[in-house]
Amino acid sequence: MEGTPAHRLYDAIKRVVGSYAFRVVVQGILTLWAVTTFTFVLIRQMPGNPIQIKIDQLMDQRQLSYDDALKSAAGLYDFDPDEPLIQQYVKYIGKLARGDLGKSILSAGTPVADQIRRYLPWTLFSVGSGLLISFTLGVLLGMSMAYWRGGLLDNTMTVVASIMYGVPDFVIALLLLLVAGVQLELFKVGDVLGGISQDVEAGFNVPYITSLVQHAGLPVLTYVWTTVGGWILTMKSSTISTLGEDYITVAKARGLPERRIVLAYVGRNAMLPLITRLAISIGFVVGGSVIIEFIFQYPGLGRLLYTAINGRDYTTMQGVFLVISAAVVVSNILADLVFGLLDPRVRVGGQK
């Protein structure tokens, strides 16, 4: 019986189905499907639809009557707001299953996939480096503050971090432009907006990279400014509670050098609670930072999303949300793996 082909096939299937990777992939797909369905319904619950908004615009701007505006808007967009929701949904999921994100409603004829390809790299670059800097800085500062608790660094940074944490990003963005750019004239406002200067050749050359950094500077600074406080405060409290753990005292009693204690005993344990948060942040890197990109005219997904939401461009919104959810799902899987590496107690597929 053991060796019959049917049996072997069955065993193979069982192994695949039972494997960790399979479970993760299925779980990921199910999550994506659920989120997609949820956003599909949700964005259609927002007041107004693309046609309605266009009608309002046409009526305002071109003085059309409602019927004329409706006719024009319907002619402009390949979208029928009266189509039953379930029918729209089936169409959408059917296309999605074939890997087709559809075409933008507002910008008729433009595939959503093209839009995402256009904007995603910018967001990954700016928000990604922002997150990296913010996280590293937050972890280092937070740990230092916990180590020299009550010291000058701790006292000043706790106040500063709380303030930074509390000020909304668009305020920071505008302040940076208005104070540093307009009043202090540290830079020409026009030179720092957008993603890249128009006169540089794309490619791996010095002017291009300089321009890249120059344009990403303020968005990254704004991002770091508004998020680093959170990392600092979390890392500080996490480090403080870790420092109170017996194994730190024992490590000292064992005569371990300070460096080893900081890295392997305090750092590694104190960072565990931050990993989940980091995973979520990494996932949302993809969504960009709508307000920051809007103000700095940075060509990221956030800027695309802003226009899409304003005009109720359902397909584009769905596309962007799908990419964001996929990123969150993937980064969570990665976080699980990393978490397992860092904390053996939750090791994936562990012995117990």
Partner: protein, 589 residues
Amino acid sequence: MKRYLQCLLIAALVLSLVGAAGLNKPAQAQEAPSGVWFGTWPYVLPPEHSFNAYVTNGGLETNLGVGFRSYVELPMAFYMWSTGEYLPLLAESWGFSDDNSYYWTKIREDATWSNGDPVTADDVLATYAIGRLMNWSDFAYIDRLEKVDEKTVNYIFLEGQGSLLAERFILKNYIRDAYTYGELATKAQELYDSGKTSEDPEWTELVDEINAFRPDELLASGPYTYTLDDVGDTYMTLHWHPNSIFSDSVNFGEIRIWAGETEATTPLVLSGEIAHATNVYPPSTLEAFAAAGINTVAIPRGYGPALLFQHDTWPWNITEVRQASALVIDREENAFLTNGLGATATQYMAGLADSMVPLWMTQEAIDQLDRYEFDPDRAAELLQSAGFERNADGKWADADGNVITAEFKFPAEFTDFSGMALNATEQLNEFGFDITARAIPWQQCADDIRNGDFELSVWSWSSQSPFPARQFYGPIQRFNYVGLTQGQKGMNFPMEFEWNGEMIDLDQMINDSSAGLDIEKQVEITSEVALIINQLMPFVPLNELISVEPFNTDLIDGLPDPDDPILQNPSSTDHFIIYSLLTGAFSPK
């Protein structure tokens, strides 16, 4: 073999050099003017951005906006609001046929595209052929187009539809080139000629094809053109070319358009990098501009906030209550709180923009208009005459003790409408009404107004069109059952009622106020409609918005004097900048 290939290559090289030299017209020794114009517009980036002049949001249609687009694709003419006259752009002459059965336009003899080809009647035909497929509302007036000669087109009206409204459509349309759109236009024309309608699948397919069309280059009849490489993250650049009829008159070699809306452009304006911006800036920002020494120019925006009543609901169905409401809101104060210096109190209360009243009403009718000067005593008398009394709390109530109470929904995102709503609420409550203001998302607010799901609300009155029917249109038709789809009742103001002893249809009267070409008759009807609105106050036109636009005189010469009639053109349509820039009124400092 190798040698042969080499020869071929060299020959090809030589040939292409000769060809290129031959194409360079020696006559065009002209050089681009040196100045740069800096403007702002929230254009989108490629891949949404394209040269397709028919798709909204992605194509020229929205990406250059009505302003900058005129520098690329010229309309036939430019309308002056102060005189009601058109000034020539692409066309040299135009007019109605004697029997008003058609309209005609003649393109300037020397008009050419940026590639040197002449602009002809074929371009006009192509433009409209695709426009019909895209459901252009022009075809509510026009039956078909006829080519008379190379430069002249006749627009044959649908029976009885010849009017000033139709003329405006015709003269304002941007003319596309048949070189780019000819093939699609032919398909569209054939499809229409074969009797297909938008219900047919072929029609939808062709619309999809037009939507997906991505021209490689842009042919311009105006003095500027650009390539997709000119569309950057932060700004896009329009480049001067020598072949337009306006190439000689403009004084700027480049037009740089900075991306973004108010928030993104504010720092740019402040740092002096913008010549002129059309964004709507809040009063505090305008103060900052003044402090930074940036000049501004004030022009009408063409509309303003109106207080809307739900006529289906007590007590707003009582004329005296609405009149009293108009009397107890100090419009000067309200205008200031709506938008600071960017709003002005309505004077005539006629449902027409104040500047349009002398043009479209008889003096006799104007004299009869009730100006609704701020007068709480008169309002109190009116209410008492309608059976209301102040109760012990100082609130107005009817004989049964029902207090005049309502919820005032307003769109939270629009600071001007919010300001108007909050102040109106306060003033009404001061008089003794019991109004609660409630902020909701603007799309929701528009929906609620359409659905009649409100008691008091705010939306715009008047419009960006200079003709009475369009001026009256909002909100009394736009947000009333007559202008909405079935089931939506809007403000629910009955349009058929008895007036001076006879039944009238106000909806029809408004439509008639701009029908045909008999101006005298239009003035008569307009006067009558204005008086009815003035008397019944179906909505209260509280103020008119003013667009205060930064205009950097350190960069640009030629800002018109404040009393220049061209400044009466509103910001949202027929913007004075378009004409002044094209005709060379502006020059770099």
